[in-house]
Structure formats: C-alpha cells, structure tokens
Assembly symmetry: none
Homo-oligomer: 206 residues x 4
DNA sequence: AATGAATGAGCCTTCATTCAT
DNA sequence: CATGAATGAAGGCTCATTCAT
C-alpha cells in the first residue's frame, strides 16, 4: 500500500536526521541509518536512490518549509516586524518540534559550501533575497534605517537568528516550554530592531 | 635549514587552505593538497603527521590569532564599543588578508559539530564567554541594554558578524579596498548597537 | 544462516593459512588472501576485523588446541611418557591434518618475537611451564634424570619435537601415512628418553 | 681510507643487529637503523645497497662463521662427541659474545621461510647435512644408536640446541659467566647422548 | 662523505551500492 | 518487500630508495 510506503520512508528519513545530527553527514554511514531505523541497510535503497539523494531530501524538507512560509508571508500582507517575527518563529519552531532538522540546517546546510550543489546555493540566495526584500520595504516605508544597504540589515538579522539556534545546538539545549521560546523570539526581534545600546527613553517595541 | 623548513610547511599549509576552501575538509584528499602545493604526495607527511593534524593546525591558526587578540583587548583597557570593533576588525581583516582561512572558519569550523573535538568545542565556548564578558561590562556600565541576558547580545553580535563573512564567502566576494572594509566594519557595529529601526534623531555612534 | 557464515569464515581462515604459509605473515596482503579464497577483498572484513585480528585468530587456533590437550592430559592422570607422547602426537597430528597451521606455528609463531604480543608470549611461557611440570614429576618419580634442571629436559624435548616439524616444513615433506607418523612419534620420544648413544643392552622403551 | 670505511660499515651492521633484534626485520625501518647508528639514513646506502642486502649480510655473517667452524671440525679429525660439542659451543659462544646475532638467527633466520631465498635455504640444508654426516659416522662407528635414521638424531640435536638459545632469547637471559655457559654446553650434549631417562648406573659422559 | 628532502609504489581499510535469495 | 553477502573504488599512511646540495 502507498500509505505504508510513505510511513516507512518517513521513518528512515527521521532516523537519518537523528544519525546525521549526531555524526555529521560525511561521517554518517548508510549502515548507521539502517541500524537507527531498525532495518537492514539494503532496504534504504528501496526508498531512497542513494546517500546523496537522501541528503538532498533533507535539505528540501527544510527549504520547502521555509519557502512555504515565505510565500504565506507575502500573501498575507503583514507588516515588516510581523514578517520578521514569522521568520524567527519558523526557525525556533522547527528547532522546538524537530530539533534534528534545525540542527542539521545549522551544521550541515547553512554554512558548509562543500555540500552545496549549485541548485542548493540558489535556495540560499533566494531566501536571502526574500529577506532583503522585506528590509527594503521597511526602509522605503521609513521604518528601517536607510543609512546602510538593506543587505547589511539582512545579514545582521539572519546572523543573529542563526546564532541563537547555533548556540542552542552547540550545547544541545532545548526550550523548556513555549513561553521560553516566545521570550527568545521577542528578544531576537527587539535587539535587532532596537539595537544593543541603552537609551534614556527605551525604544517602544514595534 | 630551519627557515626553509618553515617556509615549506607554510606553503603546504596555504595549499591546504585553498583546497579545503574549495572542496571542504572531508572531500579534500591529501593528494589534492600535494598537487596544489606542487609536491609529491608523501612529502606532506614530512611536515604534518596526518590529515587530522593538518586540519587541527588550521583550526589552531584561527583560534590562536583570535585569542591573541582577545588578550590584547583585555590588557589595553579599551571601552566596550572599541573592543567590539576590534573583534569585528579581526574577522574582516582575516578575511581580507587570508580569505581561505576565514572561509574555512565559517564553513568547517564555526558550525559543524562533527569536526569538533571536545577541545575544539572548548575554544568556542571560551570565545563566547569572552564576548559575553564584554557585554556584561557594557550592561553594568549602563551602556548596553540590560532588559535581556548578555547571552542574547552576544549571539546577536557574533551572529551578525559571522553572517557578513558568510555571505561574502558564499558569493566569493572580496573587499575592493580597505575603505570598503572600514565601511562594513562600522556598519556592523552601528547596526548592532543602534538597531535596525529608524529614529527621528539618529543615534550618535559611540 | 549462521552455519553458512561459519563455513565461509573457515574458508577464509584456511585460505589465509595457505597464503601465510607460502609468503609469511608480513608479506601476505589481504588481497592475496581474498584471491586465494576466491572472493573480493572487501569481503574479508565481513568476517574478520582486520589483518591483525585474523593473525591473532590463527594463533589462537593453535594455542587453543594445544592448551585443550594439556588440560586433557592433566585430567587423565597419565604416566610421564604417555603425556610426552600425547604432546608429540598433537604436534605431528596437526601437521598431518592441517600442515599449514603447523607450518605457521613454526615459522611465524614459535620463534619470532616481533609478532609476539605480551599476551602471546604468555602462551609460550605457560606451555613451557606445563611441560616443565611434567618433567619435574618425572624427576621426582625417579623416572627422569635429575642431575640437570627440569628446564634443560624441557628445552631438549620441545626443541627436538619442533625441529622435526621444522625440517618437514622446510622441505615441505608430508607424512606418507599414519604409520609413518607413528614411527616418527615413537622415534622422537625414544631418542629423547633413551638418548642418542648406543648401549650394549638397548634401553627398553617406556 | 679503506679502514675507516670498514669500521663505519661494521658500526652500521651492529646497529642493524640491535634494531632488528628488538623489532624484527620487517618492522625495522632503515631510519631506525640510521638513528641507532647515529647517522643520517641516506648514508646507509653508501655502505649497503639496500635493506635486503643488509639482511643478507647479517645472514652471511652467521653462516660464514658456522661453516668456517664446520670446515675446521672436518679438518681437525675430532671424535663425534667433540664435534657435537664444538657445534654447541659455537652457538652458545655466539650468543655469549654477540647476543643480537644469535637472537636474529633464532627469530628471523632459523625458522621463517618467508625471509628465505633459495640460496639461503641451501645454507640450512648444507648445515643439516654436515651434522647428519657426523651422526652417520657416529652410527657406523657403533657409538650412536642406529635403530633410527641419522636424520632423527640430527633433528633432536639441533632442535635441543636451538631451543636452549630460543628460551634464553625469549626471556632475554644472559649467561652469568663462562662457567655457566660451560655447564649448559655439557648439559645439552649429555642429555642428547644419554637421554632423559634415569638409569641404575648413570651413563658415563663421552 | 654526509644529509635529509623528495618521491611514489604498495597496502590496509572503509563504505556506498548492487544483487541473489 | 526484505536481507545481508558481495563488490571494488577510493583514500590515508608508510617507508625504501633516490638525489640535489
């Protein structure tokens, strides 16, 4: 049945996430994944064409979710801070619900250029451009400072966001609860928008 | 002569940087490095005990420089913004002078936990703590906002900084000249301190 | 099936014996063993963890059999000459049934100290001590001469025995039949016990 | 000067003996020998054509000495026991004066067929034949028992002798003094000739 | 003569992938 | 569908030997 096939495939997928998170992609052997999934290693090839394709599927899962979000954001016509907040929430939410996937994004996808096929690199740039578009809009609306290129704002925003996750990844820290996640989410946005410097009259959050 | 040996070792080191930058550590074969350095395969082993040690030497080069800087900063009793600026300049300066090393830091050292020996992980945490100390000092001096943990400020700062480099790495972008480097450096600090939001009366830089 | 696995492993084991006998352990390449066994060389690693472990297994096979014999001897409460005869028979019997194993014992295990792990050296000394115990018993029973240390008798006995095998190994000589083996066995014992010198009245065999 | 060259060559030779004794021939690297000799490793090649030839020289040294002895024995028209005693003394004497050489004979030359070139094998057989000739003479003179082939006596004699040395090699035991060496020498001969069995009237040594 | 940098063939081992059952 | 035995390309490392200085 097709349904069963899907479930098995997903089980292998999740097993792969767990192992790759632990050992990194290059050090992960197909046999490890099979063992983690509790199946024989030959069976993986009934569900995925090969190791490379399996890894691509993982990346696709991440990007698929993220681009889905970006499209939703564009459709829903939100304000700039709300959009940024939505992006932050996507990252933190994924880390909350599927920490392995977020972990792998940070450690294997986000930076490493060696795993990056040209197509995959495209994803990155596309995503950056989407964020940059938001920044530009914020600048033209007079909400964001325009004394620096929108690229700068983009880097700062995504960098801060990623590093929050990275730090949690590095120490394998989990969110205690949703409230903590909310607090972090708000913190990232506020520091990004308001900056680190103290002011006489605290800047009102957006 | 010892001098010649040093130079040869450095030549191999730099060749390794170039190859690793291009292919990533795991996909880099010793033969590639030898070819890039224009020497025979076995000769690498006269200068480095093995692939792992060579990679460790690369990481050490990065951390050595960075910790050297951090010590200097602590000694020289600079103000908070000046310290942060020095850190930014170190990252950008390394990228300017030795782009491969900075690249490798971003793609292979900075995130990947799989390459991380416990000792190496130590470096990370130590560095984060050094930055966090600066943030704490800024908070206690009343210069930095204290409505968020100093950790948050640390993540935002380092994240933004790293991502500036990352983005340049991704597109293999070089600084046109020192002036451009200066501009970026100032931008990072200012956005971090002042935030992305526009204000009626632009915040004075520190 | 487990049975098949055992058989395959044994086939590789025997192939290894044949090759090592021919080329010596150090000059034996895994590829040689694979070729001799008629399999691809990667397959060896499904059955043995590595070259070293394969060699250890070979040594273990020898010592396992020998110590098994020694235990049986001690249990069965045989007389001194019968015990010595049993040891001789074990050596000759192994050479008869598995000439490669006996050969390797002689050429690679028996003497070479460089292949000898401390554990392996233990085996040697243990075995020597077992024989020496027999000699001591013979001396205290008044059956063996006691004007020399029991060690001397031990060396002479084991030396003669080993060299019989060695000589056969060197010229790749096989026993024609069991009768010949019996004759040799008796000869070794008799010369050891009675000595090489002729006497007026031939010494009665034990 | 030729004299100096000879001395240097001998120094390398002795260094090789020491290292090979410790690590075995196969695990001995040319660099080890050079280090032990206190010279650069390239220099060895000024004195020996290569590793193999160096090892052959070592074997030649042993066999040269031994065959020299055998010739002398034949010339001097000694009795059978005296000849056997001379052979024993040669082995023990070499072990006494140049333990490394005797050690290497036992561990690397005596048994290992893998190090044995056909020419080297020849030496063995020649030597065995020389001893066997002695045994045959003893038999035809009525001094040695003739109810077994002379080969058997040969194996027993050489086996016992070798194993005495082997045992000393294994535990790295040295002779305390010449007297001890004499005692061992006599013991070997007496046990070989008189056998291990006790008799009413102890057999007179020859 | 002496040095040690340089070379590269050789070999062990790993592991993605295939395939017979 | 499921298994795991089998394959063999790939790559790290060693070390005997050569050779420029």
């Amino acid at each position: 049945m097709d349904r069963e096939r899907q479930e098995k495939q997903e089980a292998i997928f999740q097993a792969a996430l767990r192992v790759i998170k632990e050992k990194g992609f290059h050090k992960t052997r197909m046999a490890d994944i099979a063992k983690e999934a509790g199946i024989s290693y030959g069976l993986i090839y009934h569900y995925f064409p090969g190791k490379g394709k399996l890894f691509e599927a993982i990346q696709e899962r991440w990007w698929g979710g993220l681009f889905g979000l970006m499209k939703r954001i564009e459709r829903e016509n939100l304000g700039v801070p709300e959009r940024l907040r939505a992006v932050i929430d996507y990252f933190l939410g994924t880390y909350y619900e599927n920490p392995e996937l977020a972990n792998i994004f940070i450690t294997e996808i986000s930076r490493s250029t060696s795993n990056l096929s040209p197509e995959r690199l495209r994803h990155f740039k596309d995503f950056m451009e989407m964020i940059q578009k938001v920044m530009k809009e914020g600048q033209s609306l007079g909400f964001l400072r325009d004394d620096f290129p929108s690229r700068y704002l983009t880097y700062m925003f995504l960098g801060g966001l990623e590093t929050f996750i990275s730090a949690m990844v590095l120490v394998d820290q989990k969110f205690k609860d949703l409230a903590q996640k909310e607090k972090v989410s708000r913190g990232i946005l506020e520091i990004f928008l308001g900056g680190a410097m103290k002011r006489e009259f605290p800047v009102e959050g957006p």
